[in-house]
Amino acid sequence: MNEKITLADLVDKIAEETGASKRLVHDLLIETVNLTREGLNRDGHVNLRGLGRFHLKWHEAKRGRNPQTGELIEIPAHSRVKFKAEADLREYINRKYSHLRSTIIEGEIEPLEPEPTDVPIKPEDTIPQPVSEIPTSIQEEEKKRSARWLWLVIPLLIIILAYLFWPSKKAPETDVKEPVVSEKVVEDVPIQPEEAKQPEEKPVAEEVKMGTPGGQHTVKPGEGLWTISRDFYNQAYLWPNIYRVNLNKIKNPDLLSIGNEVQIPPLQGKPGNLTQKDIEEIAEGFIEVYLVYKKLGKKKALYYLWVVKKWNVTEVIDRFKDRIDETDLELVGKIEGYPRIK
Protein backbone atom coordinates (compact mmCIF):
# COMPACT_ATOMS: atom_id res chain seq x y z
CA MET A 1 0.00 0.00 0.00
CA ASN A 2 1.89 3.03 -1.27
CA GLU A 3 -0.94 5.31 -2.28
CA LYS A 4 -3.48 6.85 0.09
CA ILE A 5 -6.76 8.58 -0.57
CA THR A 6 -7.95 11.56 1.47
CA LEU A 7 -11.43 12.29 2.78
CA ALA A 8 -12.03 14.96 0.09
CA ASP A 9 -11.24 12.50 -2.72
CA LEU A 10 -13.46 9.88 -1.12
CA VAL A 11 -16.32 12.39 -0.83
CA ASP A 12 -15.94 13.29 -4.53
CA LYS A 13 -16.06 9.63 -5.56
CA ILE A 14 -19.10 8.78 -3.44
CA ALA A 15 -20.97 11.92 -4.53
CA GLU A 16 -20.26 11.15 -8.17
CA GLU A 17 -21.38 7.54 -7.83
CA THR A 18 -24.53 8.10 -5.78
CA GLY A 19 -25.67 11.46 -7.16
CA ALA A 20 -25.91 12.94 -3.65
CA SER A 21 -24.52 16.38 -2.81
CA LYS A 22 -20.90 16.57 -1.66
CA ARG A 23 -21.97 18.33 1.51
CA LEU A 24 -24.32 15.50 2.45
CA VAL A 25 -21.70 12.81 1.74
CA HIS A 26 -19.08 14.75 3.74
CA ASP A 27 -21.48 15.10 6.70
CA LEU A 28 -22.39 11.43 6.41
CA LEU A 29 -18.77 10.28 6.64
CA ILE A 30 -17.92 12.67 9.48
CA GLU A 31 -21.02 11.62 11.43
CA THR A 32 -20.25 7.94 10.82
CA VAL A 33 -16.80 8.49 12.32
CA ASN A 34 -18.34 10.37 15.28
CA LEU A 35 -20.90 7.59 15.82
CA THR A 36 -18.15 4.96 15.68
CA ARG A 37 -16.25 6.82 18.40
CA GLU A 38 -19.40 7.18 20.48
CA GLY A 39 -20.24 3.51 20.02
CA LEU A 40 -16.75 2.46 21.10
CA ASN A 41 -17.02 4.70 24.15
CA ARG A 42 -20.47 3.36 25.07
CA ASP A 43 -20.40 -0.36 24.21
CA GLY A 44 -16.79 -1.10 23.31
CA HIS A 45 -17.74 -2.39 19.86
CA VAL A 46 -19.30 -1.07 16.63
CA ASN A 47 -20.55 -3.05 13.65
CA LEU A 48 -20.41 -1.33 10.26
CA ARG A 49 -22.08 -3.54 7.66
CA GLY A 50 -20.02 -3.96 4.50
CA LEU A 51 -16.81 -2.96 6.24
CA GLY A 52 -16.29 -4.80 9.51
CA ARG A 53 -16.30 -4.65 13.29
CA PHE A 54 -14.41 -2.24 15.53
CA HIS A 55 -13.81 -3.31 19.11
CA LEU A 56 -11.68 -2.47 22.11
CA LYS A 57 -9.19 -4.98 23.49
CA TRP A 58 -7.83 -4.61 26.98
CA HIS A 59 -4.12 -5.23 27.57
CA GLU A 60 -2.88 -5.73 31.13
CA ALA A 61 0.22 -3.94 32.42
CA LYS A 62 3.43 -5.66 31.36
CA ARG A 63 7.17 -5.24 31.28
CA GLY A 64 8.72 -4.24 27.99
CA ARG A 65 11.92 -2.91 26.55
CA ASN A 66 12.59 0.36 24.81
CA PRO A 67 13.71 -0.77 21.33
CA GLN A 68 16.02 2.21 20.92
CA THR A 69 17.88 2.15 24.23
CA GLY A 70 17.21 -1.44 25.33
CA GLU A 71 16.05 -0.09 28.67
CA LEU A 72 13.45 -2.04 30.70
CA ILE A 73 10.17 -0.15 30.99
CA GLU A 74 6.81 -0.72 32.61
CA ILE A 75 3.94 -0.55 30.08
CA PRO A 76 0.71 0.46 31.89
CA ALA A 77 -2.61 -1.34 31.29
CA HIS A 78 -4.44 0.10 28.29
CA SER A 79 -7.11 -0.46 25.66
CA ARG A 80 -6.45 -0.80 21.93
CA VAL A 81 -8.83 -0.24 19.04
CA LYS A 82 -9.01 -3.35 16.86
CA PHE A 83 -10.71 -3.83 13.52
CA LYS A 84 -11.80 -7.06 11.87
CA ALA A 85 -12.88 -6.87 8.25
CA GLU A 86 -16.20 -8.50 7.36
CA ALA A 87 -16.02 -11.98 5.82
CA ASP A 88 -17.53 -10.73 2.53
CA LEU A 89 -14.89 -8.01 2.27
CA ARG A 90 -12.10 -10.50 3.01
CA GLU A 91 -13.46 -12.90 0.39
CA TYR A 92 -13.83 -10.09 -2.15
CA ILE A 93 -10.23 -8.89 -1.92
CA ASN A 94 -8.98 -12.51 -1.88
CA ARG A 95 -11.06 -13.72 -4.84
CA LYS A 96 -7.88 -14.23 -6.92
CA TYR A 97 -6.57 -16.71 -4.34
CA SER A 98 -9.89 -18.38 -3.46
CA HIS A 99 -8.95 -21.57 -5.38
CA LEU A 100 -5.77 -22.05 -3.33
CA ARG A 101 -5.84 -24.32 -0.28
CA SER A 102 -3.29 -25.00 2.42
CA THR A 103 -1.38 -28.22 1.76
CA ILE A 104 0.40 -30.64 4.05
CA ILE A 105 4.15 -30.67 3.47
CA GLU A 106 5.35 -34.23 2.84
CA GLY A 107 8.86 -35.52 3.46
CA GLU A 108 11.58 -34.00 5.56
CA ILE A 109 10.80 -30.66 7.14
CA GLU A 110 13.33 -27.95 6.58
CA PRO A 111 13.51 -25.27 9.23
CA LEU A 112 12.09 -21.91 8.18
CA GLU A 113 14.84 -19.86 6.58
CA PRO A 114 15.48 -16.54 8.28
CA GLU A 115 14.74 -13.53 6.09
CA PRO A 116 17.91 -12.13 4.50
CA THR A 117 18.85 -8.78 5.95
CA ASP A 118 21.10 -6.24 4.31
CA VAL A 119 22.25 -4.88 7.64
CA PRO A 120 25.59 -6.47 8.59
CA ILE A 121 25.71 -8.15 11.97
CA LYS A 122 27.55 -6.05 14.51
CA PRO A 123 30.31 -7.60 16.57
CA GLU A 124 29.42 -8.26 20.18
CA ASP A 125 31.45 -5.32 21.45
CA THR A 126 29.51 -2.75 19.45
CA ILE A 127 26.05 -3.98 20.56
CA PRO A 128 24.66 -1.82 23.34
CA GLN A 129 24.62 -3.78 26.57
CA PRO A 130 21.15 -3.34 28.02
CA VAL A 131 21.72 -6.45 30.13
CA SER A 132 23.97 -4.56 32.48
CA GLU A 133 21.09 -2.22 33.28
CA ILE A 134 18.80 -5.08 34.30
CA PRO A 135 18.58 -5.51 38.04
CA THR A 136 20.21 -8.69 39.39
CA SER A 137 16.88 -10.05 40.67
CA ILE A 138 15.52 -10.13 37.10
CA GLN A 139 18.69 -11.80 35.83
CA GLU A 140 18.35 -14.50 38.48
CA GLU A 141 14.72 -14.98 37.58
CA GLU A 142 15.59 -15.43 33.91
CA LYS A 143 18.32 -17.91 34.82
CA LYS A 144 15.86 -19.93 36.91
CA ARG A 145 13.40 -19.98 34.01
CA SER A 146 15.99 -21.26 31.55
CA ALA A 147 17.07 -23.93 34.07
CA ARG A 148 13.46 -25.12 34.35
CA TRP A 149 13.27 -25.43 30.56
CA LEU A 150 16.50 -27.42 30.51
CA TRP A 151 15.07 -29.94 32.97
CA LEU A 152 12.09 -30.38 30.69
CA VAL A 153 14.04 -30.60 27.45
CA ILE A 154 16.76 -33.07 28.53
CA PRO A 155 14.43 -36.02 29.38
CA LEU A 156 12.50 -35.34 26.16
CA LEU A 157 15.70 -35.50 24.13
CA ILE A 158 16.68 -38.77 25.83
CA ILE A 159 13.28 -40.31 25.01
CA ILE A 160 13.48 -39.20 21.35
CA LEU A 161 17.03 -40.55 20.95
CA ALA A 162 16.08 -43.85 22.61
CA TYR A 163 13.10 -44.19 20.27
CA LEU A 164 15.20 -43.47 17.18
CA PHE A 165 18.12 -45.81 17.95
CA TRP A 166 16.19 -48.65 19.64
CA PRO A 167 16.60 -51.80 17.50
CA SER A 168 13.20 -52.84 16.12
CA LYS A 169 11.92 -55.02 13.30
CA LYS A 170 9.46 -52.47 12.02
CA ALA A 171 12.08 -49.83 11.28
CA PRO A 172 13.14 -51.00 7.79
CA GLU A 173 9.50 -51.32 6.67
CA THR A 174 8.77 -47.67 7.33
CA ASP A 175 11.93 -46.70 5.46
CA VAL A 176 10.65 -48.48 2.35
CA LYS A 177 7.10 -47.13 2.50
CA GLU A 178 7.79 -43.46 2.93
CA PRO A 179 9.34 -42.67 -0.44
CA VAL A 180 6.53 -44.56 -2.24
CA VAL A 181 3.90 -42.32 -0.65
CA SER A 182 5.80 -39.14 -1.44
CA GLU A 183 6.28 -40.23 -5.08
CA LYS A 184 2.56 -40.88 -5.42
CA VAL A 185 1.66 -37.48 -4.08
CA VAL A 186 4.05 -35.76 -6.46
CA GLU A 187 2.58 -37.71 -9.42
CA ASP A 188 -1.04 -36.98 -8.54
CA VAL A 189 -0.86 -33.28 -7.90
CA PRO A 190 0.04 -31.08 -10.88
CA ILE A 191 2.45 -28.22 -10.27
CA GLN A 192 0.89 -24.77 -10.37
CA PRO A 193 2.19 -22.46 -13.13
CA GLU A 194 3.20 -19.88 -10.49
CA GLU A 195 5.48 -22.42 -8.87
CA ALA A 196 6.92 -23.55 -12.17
CA LYS A 197 8.29 -20.04 -12.67
CA GLN A 198 10.51 -20.44 -9.61
CA PRO A 199 12.81 -23.38 -10.31
CA GLU A 200 15.16 -22.49 -7.46
CA GLU A 201 12.43 -23.26 -4.91
CA LYS A 202 11.89 -26.86 -3.96
CA PRO A 203 8.37 -28.06 -4.81
CA VAL A 204 7.62 -28.92 -1.19
CA ALA A 205 3.88 -28.64 -1.54
CA GLU A 206 1.65 -28.21 -4.52
CA GLU A 207 -1.70 -26.44 -4.41
CA VAL A 208 -4.68 -28.80 -4.76
CA LYS A 209 -6.67 -28.03 -7.91
CA MET A 210 -10.43 -28.21 -7.99
CA GLY A 211 -11.59 -31.56 -9.30
CA THR A 212 -14.34 -32.12 -11.86
CA PRO A 213 -17.48 -33.89 -10.66
CA GLY A 214 -18.73 -37.01 -12.37
CA GLY A 215 -15.99 -39.46 -11.42
CA GLN A 216 -14.65 -41.28 -8.42
CA HIS A 217 -12.44 -40.01 -5.63
CA THR A 218 -10.28 -41.94 -3.19
CA VAL A 219 -10.53 -40.62 0.37
CA LYS A 220 -7.23 -39.28 1.68
CA PRO A 221 -6.25 -38.66 5.32
CA GLY A 222 -7.89 -35.54 6.74
CA GLU A 223 -10.67 -35.49 4.15
CA GLY A 224 -14.41 -35.49 4.78
CA LEU A 225 -17.51 -35.11 2.65
CA TRP A 226 -17.40 -31.37 3.40
CA THR A 227 -13.86 -30.91 2.02
CA ILE A 228 -14.47 -33.22 -0.96
CA SER A 229 -17.58 -31.21 -1.90
CA ARG A 230 -15.60 -27.99 -1.51
CA ASP A 231 -12.86 -29.27 -3.83
CA PHE A 232 -15.19 -30.67 -6.51
CA TYR A 233 -18.17 -28.29 -6.48
CA ASN A 234 -16.42 -25.23 -4.96
CA GLN A 235 -19.32 -25.24 -2.51
CA ALA A 236 -18.94 -27.28 0.68
CA TYR A 237 -22.65 -27.06 1.56
CA LEU A 238 -23.50 -29.46 -1.27
CA TRP A 239 -21.89 -32.45 0.49
CA PRO A 240 -25.24 -34.26 1.03
CA ASN A 241 -25.37 -34.66 -2.76
CA ILE A 242 -22.23 -36.83 -2.56
CA TYR A 243 -23.63 -38.72 0.41
CA ARG A 244 -26.83 -39.45 -1.57
CA VAL A 245 -25.06 -41.58 -4.20
CA ASN A 246 -22.78 -43.30 -1.67
CA LEU A 247 -25.39 -44.47 0.82
CA ASN A 248 -24.18 -48.10 0.68
CA LYS A 249 -20.55 -47.19 1.35
CA ILE A 250 -21.02 -44.54 4.06
CA LYS A 251 -22.86 -45.45 7.24
CA ASN A 252 -22.10 -42.24 9.12
CA PRO A 253 -21.51 -39.15 6.94
CA ASP A 254 -19.24 -37.68 9.62
CA LEU A 255 -16.81 -40.61 9.35
CA LEU A 256 -15.05 -41.66 6.14
CA SER A 257 -12.54 -44.50 5.80
CA ILE A 258 -9.21 -43.64 4.21
CA GLY A 259 -8.85 -45.32 0.80
CA ASN A 260 -12.61 -45.63 0.22
CA GLU A 261 -13.75 -44.76 -3.27
CA VAL A 262 -16.49 -42.14 -3.27
CA GLN A 263 -18.58 -41.38 -6.33
CA ILE A 264 -19.02 -37.68 -7.17
CA PRO A 265 -22.32 -37.06 -8.96
CA PRO A 266 -22.23 -34.40 -11.71
CA LEU A 267 -24.42 -31.26 -11.61
CA GLN A 268 -26.35 -29.88 -14.58
CA GLY A 269 -25.94 -26.30 -13.41
CA LYS A 270 -23.28 -24.64 -11.28
CA PRO A 271 -23.30 -23.79 -7.56
CA GLY A 272 -25.12 -20.47 -7.37
CA ASN A 273 -27.07 -21.27 -10.56
CA LEU A 274 -28.47 -24.76 -10.00
CA THR A 275 -31.16 -26.30 -12.18
CA GLN A 276 -34.45 -27.64 -10.76
CA LYS A 277 -33.24 -31.22 -11.21
CA ASP A 278 -30.05 -30.44 -9.28
CA ILE A 279 -32.06 -28.87 -6.46
CA GLU A 280 -34.32 -31.92 -6.25
CA GLU A 281 -31.34 -34.30 -6.16
CA ILE A 282 -29.55 -32.22 -3.53
CA ALA A 283 -32.79 -32.01 -1.51
CA GLU A 284 -32.94 -35.80 -1.66
CA GLY A 285 -29.39 -35.87 -0.26
CA PHE A 286 -30.37 -33.51 2.54
CA ILE A 287 -33.31 -35.76 3.45
CA GLU A 288 -31.00 -38.80 3.49
CA VAL A 289 -28.66 -36.88 5.83
CA TYR A 290 -31.64 -35.94 8.01
CA LEU A 291 -32.69 -39.60 8.19
CA VAL A 292 -29.23 -40.89 9.10
CA TYR A 293 -28.65 -38.17 11.72
CA LYS A 294 -32.10 -38.88 13.15
CA LYS A 295 -31.17 -42.56 13.36
CA LEU A 296 -27.89 -41.70 15.07
CA GLY A 297 -29.76 -39.41 17.51
CA LYS A 298 -28.08 -36.17 16.42
CA LYS A 299 -29.90 -32.90 16.99
CA LYS A 300 -28.50 -31.29 13.83
CA ALA A 301 -30.77 -33.61 11.78
CA LEU A 302 -33.51 -30.96 11.93
CA TYR A 303 -31.32 -28.40 10.16
CA TYR A 304 -31.18 -30.54 7.02
CA LEU A 305 -34.95 -30.98 7.01
CA TRP A 306 -35.40 -27.21 7.47
CA VAL A 307 -33.27 -26.55 4.38
CA VAL A 308 -35.40 -28.93 2.28
CA LYS A 309 -38.61 -27.40 3.62
CA LYS A 310 -37.46 -23.91 2.66
CA TRP A 311 -36.62 -25.03 -0.88
CA ASN A 312 -40.29 -25.90 -1.59
CA VAL A 313 -39.53 -29.25 -3.18
CA THR A 314 -42.85 -30.84 -2.21
CA GLU A 315 -42.46 -33.75 -4.65
CA VAL A 316 -39.26 -34.89 -2.97
CA ILE A 317 -40.78 -34.49 0.50
CA ASP A 318 -43.85 -36.51 -0.61
CA ARG A 319 -41.57 -39.30 -1.84
CA PHE A 320 -40.00 -39.58 1.63
CA LYS A 321 -43.25 -38.90 3.55
CA ASP A 322 -43.35 -42.37 5.15
CA ARG A 323 -39.85 -41.98 6.59
CA ILE A 324 -39.96 -38.33 7.72
CA ASP A 325 -41.32 -37.62 11.18
CA GLU A 326 -44.46 -35.42 10.85
CA THR A 327 -43.79 -33.53 14.08
CA ASP A 328 -40.33 -32.64 12.76
CA LEU A 329 -41.86 -31.29 9.53
CA GLU A 330 -44.29 -29.11 11.49
CA LEU A 331 -41.57 -27.87 13.81
CA VAL A 332 -39.27 -27.02 10.91
CA GLY A 333 -42.07 -25.14 9.10
CA LYS A 334 -42.32 -22.69 12.00
CA ILE A 335 -38.64 -21.68 11.91
CA GLU A 336 -38.09 -18.33 10.19
CA GLY A 337 -35.14 -17.26 8.03
CA TYR A 338 -33.68 -18.72 4.89
CA PRO A 339 -30.64 -20.98 4.39
CA ARG A 340 -27.61 -19.53 2.57
CA ILE A 341 -27.27 -22.58 0.33
CA LYS A 342 -28.30 -22.66 -3.38
Partner: protein
Protein backbone atom coordinates in the same frame (compact mmCIF):
# COMPACT_ATOMS: atom_id res chain seq x y z
CA UNK B 1 -23.53 -0.24 18.44
CA UNK B 2 -25.17 -1.98 15.50
CA UNK B 3 -25.54 -0.91 11.90
CA UNK B 4 -29.26 -0.12 12.30
CA UNK B 5 -28.51 2.16 15.28
CA UNK B 6 -25.95 4.00 13.16
CA UNK B 7 -28.49 4.48 10.35
CA UNK B 8 -31.16 5.76 12.80
CA UNK B 9 -28.74 8.24 14.37
CA UNK B 10 -27.47 9.40 10.97
CA UNK B 11 -31.01 10.07 9.76
CA UNK B 12 -31.75 12.07 12.95
CA UNK B 13 -28.55 14.11 12.76
CA UNK B 14 -28.61 14.84 9.02
CA UNK B 15 -32.40 15.23 8.68
CA UNK B 16 -32.67 12.61 5.93
CA UNK B 17 -34.80 9.48 5.67
CA UNK B 18 -33.43 6.20 7.00
CA UNK B 19 -33.76 4.60 3.56
CA UNK B 20 -31.61 7.33 2.00
CA UNK B 21 -29.00 6.99 4.75
CA UNK B 22 -28.95 3.21 4.30
CA UNK B 23 -28.47 3.59 0.54
CA UNK B 24 -25.68 6.15 0.91
CA UNK B 25 -23.89 4.14 3.62
CA UNK B 26 -24.07 0.97 1.55
CA UNK B 27 -22.70 2.62 -1.58
CA UNK B 28 -19.98 4.30 0.52
CA UNK B 29 -18.81 0.97 1.92
CA UNK B 30 -18.89 -0.51 -1.59
CA UNK B 31 -16.68 2.30 -2.89
CA UNK B 32 -14.31 1.88 0.08
CA UNK B 33 -14.16 -1.85 -0.69
CA UNK B 34 -13.24 -1.17 -4.32
CA UNK B 35 -10.56 1.33 -3.29
CA UNK B 36 -9.02 -1.14 -0.85
CA UNK B 37 -9.13 -3.80 -3.56
CA UNK B 38 -6.95 -1.55 -5.75
CA UNK B 39 -4.33 -1.56 -2.96
CA UNK B 40 -5.00 2.09 -2.05
CA UNK B 41 -5.22 3.21 1.58
CA UNK B 42 -8.00 5.39 2.99
CA UNK B 43 -7.51 7.92 5.77
CA UNK B 44 -10.60 8.85 7.78
CA UNK B 45 -9.84 11.84 10.00
CA UNK B 46 -10.64 11.08 13.62
CA UNK B 47 -10.84 7.33 13.07
CA UNK B 48 -7.71 6.02 11.39
CA UNK B 49 -6.25 4.57 8.20
CA UNK B 50 -7.42 1.47 6.33
CA UNK B 51 -5.09 -0.36 4.00
CA UNK B 52 -4.66 -3.74 2.34
CA UNK B 53 -1.52 -5.82 2.74
CA UNK B 54 -0.27 -8.81 0.80
CA UNK B 55 0.93 -11.88 2.70
CA UNK B 56 3.26 -14.24 0.83
CA UNK B 57 2.69 -18.00 1.06
CA UNK B 58 4.35 -19.35 4.17
CA UNK B 59 5.08 -22.48 6.14
CA UNK B 60 3.04 -23.09 9.26
CA UNK B 61 2.10 -25.89 11.63
CA UNK B 62 -1.28 -27.61 11.74
CA UNK B 63 -1.79 -28.52 15.42
CA UNK B 64 -4.72 -30.85 14.64
CA UNK B 65 -2.87 -33.12 12.19
CA UNK B 66 0.49 -32.33 13.82
CA UNK B 67 2.05 -31.65 10.43
CA UNK B 68 3.73 -28.74 8.70
CA UNK B 69 1.55 -27.04 6.12
CA UNK B 70 2.04 -24.50 3.37
CA UNK B 71 -0.44 -21.64 3.64
CA UNK B 72 -1.44 -19.99 0.36
CA UNK B 73 -0.85 -16.27 -0.27
CA UNK B 74 -3.59 -13.87 0.76
CA UNK B 75 -4.46 -10.22 1.28
CA UNK B 76 -5.55 -8.73 4.57
CA UNK B 77 -7.16 -5.47 5.64
CA UNK B 78 -5.17 -3.48 8.19
CA UNK B 79 -6.49 -0.67 10.33
CA UNK B 80 -4.30 1.83 12.14
CA UNK B 81 -6.31 3.90 14.64
CA UNK B 82 -5.64 7.63 14.76
CA UNK B 83 -3.73 9.03 17.74
CA UNK B 84 -6.78 11.02 18.92
CA UNK B 85 -9.00 7.90 19.17
CA UNK B 86 -6.17 5.98 20.85
CA UNK B 87 -5.76 8.55 23.60
CA UNK B 88 -9.52 8.95 24.01
CA UNK B 89 -10.17 5.23 24.52
CA UNK B 90 -6.90 4.34 26.27
CA UNK B 91 -8.46 3.81 29.68
CA UNK B 92 -11.81 2.33 28.60
CA UNK B 93 -12.37 -1.21 29.81
CA UNK B 94 -15.40 -3.44 29.08
Amino acid sequence: MTNSEIIKNLSLRLGQSQAEMKRLLKSSTNIIRDILDKDIGITMPGLGTFGSHFLQRRKSFDPYHKKFIMLPPKRTIKFHPSSSIKTELKNKRF
